[in-house]
């Protein structure tokens, strides 16, 4: 009897151990650092916790003035076989990274359905810059490079992180949707890197994405399957932008799905407390099953 109890205790402790072991870890995006980094904000990196849309932990943090990009890896706690993975690009209009609502909260949900999440804290246009200026747009090109490199680095670590190399996707919210769109339309490919084997995501999920004509003009039949969702009353990245992008996917016979919810506005994240838009995570999950990324 005592033996059985200690066995139970042993098992429980073991289980707890594996949860503790699955603690997220951070790796730099550029392990050798960035030479002549043109991101030079007056102020240091800073984190602001917003009042709106806080999660259960009371967090909805935005990180500003990022000059040193990194990846936060949220591994599936325990898996005997390689898992699917999603490289997550939070939004923030390129001036900040919405790290909870469109990052950590998303990673925790993905972990719950058996997917490892890699949250990308990409460089941001410094506070003292005009993001729409010529200089700001130049920096945006470098942010696109961060995005592409994030997928490249994730793929490189596939074995180490126990990832199934045929099931590595990207997911982006708002500005992060712009970045995901940039990755799948090959807006940037590093020199001496084979896009097909070293970068190309196996699927993409765009949430109220900031896609535009630049993306649309680059769509061709080589894109991976795409899932898009947006609300009809989005004032920031209006639904017609998603629809135009979807039309290009449609014309190119990409297996793509589009959900335009009547309400939800911009920045709904996983959609909790935003009415019917909260079905999108489940729709996405079923879409992953349909695409053979997740098991039934």
């Amino acid at each position: 009897m005592i033996q059985l109890k200690s066995l139970q205790l042993f098992l429980i402790l073991n289980l707890m151990g594996s949860v503790i072991l699955a603690k997220p870890f951070t790796v730099p995006l550029y392990k050798d650092g960035i030479k002549d980094n043109p991101f030079k904000p007056i102020n240091d990196e800073k984190t602001v916790n917003r009042q709106a849309d806080q999660n259960e932990k009371g967090l909805n943090r935005a990180i500003y003035n990022v000059t040193d990009p990194d990846l936060m890896v949220y591994k599936v706690p325990k898996s005997d076989k390689p898992t699917a993975a999603v490289v997550v690009f939070p939004g923030g209009g390129f001036t900040h990274v919405t790290i909870d609502k469109e990052g950590i909260d998303v990673a925790e949900w993905l972990n719950g359905i058996g997917i490892t999440a890699v949250i990308v804290k990409y460089r941001t246009v410094p506070e003292d810059y005009d993001r729409g200026s010529e200089e700001g747009l130049k920096l945006r090109e470098l942010i696109v490079e961060d995005a592409v490199n994030a997928v490249y680095v994730s793929r490189k670590h596939a074995t180490e992180w126990n990832l199934d190399v045929e099931k590595i996707g990207v997911m982006g919210f708002s500005a992060g949707g712009y970045l995901s769109g940039a990755v799948i339309t090959q807006m940037y490919v590093p020199d001496n890197v084979d896009y097909e084997s070293a970068i190309r995501p196996d699927f993409a999920c765009l949430i109220y994405p900031g896609v535009n004509k630049q993306h649309n003009s680059r769509v061709d039949s080589t894109l991976p399957p795409v899932f898009i969702t947006v609300a009809a009353d989005d004032q920031t990245t209006p639904a017609p932008r998603s629809i135009s992008f979807y039309e290009k996917l449609y014309e190119n016979s990409i297996p793509a799905e589009l959900h335009v919810f009547q309400n939800g506005s911009h920045g709904f994240g996983l959609g909790e407390n935003r009415g019917m838009v909260n079905s999108w995570p489940q729709l996405f999950e079923k879409w992953l099953v349909e695409n053979g990324i997740l098991d039934k």
Partner: protein, 303 residues
């Protein structure tokens, strides 16, 4: 216990459902036109015929298609709970105007809507005679008569709302394929002649499922359209998704409260089958949408 009280109690027990639910929940069928009211544009040389499709059967074991329909009718499937006025949806099945897909896009839909507390009215509209294509000059004219059947059906529901225990502010329409074309025709008011004043049949909401749409309908979208829910599959070869996208884009421009779901797979004619992969999510999305519009409440259980 006295005999009178016993008889009273027995009567009470027997008629209790009527006291509680108001009226009987048995389906009933009505002709859409009274004698002499129907236009005689569609005349079938052969009698009406029912064919049972060999596949895609419903729980009763069949999937009926009605051909050569000369006498349009509607069947009312009352919601189970009649304790207060119920929302209603007038359902137009598909069938390319040559037949009525009566179960898959009719009675099965009614069962589902009933379970949500909604009264369903399934319309068996007239069908085109063999040899007349819906896109031919003659076919187009006859389709207008078919749309008239459906307009009459909606107006009958409006007229009888009180008697049928229907909330007059919650009468919607739903159409599949050719039935979707009928719905689109009604909400965009693109049928050429108006037999009835629009106020008598203007739907409170609309649901288009893999709808067949015309350019004229798409061009005629305006701010007066009722809230609309649209769904279609990307790989639909019969009523391609790009038309649905065009219609929806116009709705966004016109600020029509509306929602669109384009599923990656599902092809044409998926009805509400549960085993069609991603596309089988649409009924739940529609339930959520109706809750949001306060047509129903607390139906949605999540996906």
């Amino acid at each position: 216990m006295s005999k009178t009280i016993k008889v009273f109690l027995i009567c009470l027990w027997i008629f209790m459902p009527i006291f509680v639910y108001g009226i009987s929940a048995e389906p009933f069928t009505l002709a859409i036109y009274s004698k002499g009211e129907i236009d005689n544009t569609i005349v079938h040389q052969i009698p009406e015929e029912v064919k049972k499709a060999p596949s895609r059967i419903n729980k009763l074991g069949y999937n009926r298609g009605y051909y050569n329909v000369s006498t349009p009718e509607l069947t009312v499937f009352p919601a189970i709970d009649q304790s207060k006025p119920t929302p209603a949806i007038v359902v137009f099945p598909g069938g390319g105007f040559t037949h009525i897909t009566y179960d898959k896009e009719g009675t099965m839909i009614a069962d589902w809507l009933n379970s949500l507390g909604i009264t369903a009215i399934v319309v068996k509209y007239r069908t085109l005679p063999k040899g007349i294509h819906r896109n031919s000059e003659e076919g187009k004219k006859l389709v207008l008569s078919i749309v008239d059947d459906c307009i009459h059906a909606v107006s009958i529901v409006n007229t009888n709302a009180a008697e049928w225990n229907i909330d007059p502010d919650k009468i919607g329409i739903m159409g599949f394929s050719a039935g979707g074309r009928i719905c689109a025709s009604i909400i965009t008011q693109t049928h050429s002649h108006h037999p009835i004043d629009y106020d008598n049949y203007k739907p409170d909401f609309c649901c288009l499922v893999y709808p067949g749409l015309s350019e004229q309908q798409i061009e005629s979208v305006n701010a007066d359209l009722p809230p609309t829910f649209i769904t279609v599959a990307r790989d639909d070869k019969v009523t391609p998704a790009n038309k649905t996208i065009d219609l929806y884009s116009k709705m966004l421009i016109a600020n029509v409260p509306s929602e669109m779901h384009i599923f990656m797979n599902g092809a044409h004619g998926f009805g509400i089958y549960k085993d069609r992969g991603v596309v089988s999510n649409w009924p739940l999305l529609f339930e959520n949408w109706m809750d949001k519009l306060e047509i129903t409440s607390h139906n949605s259980q999540g996906l």
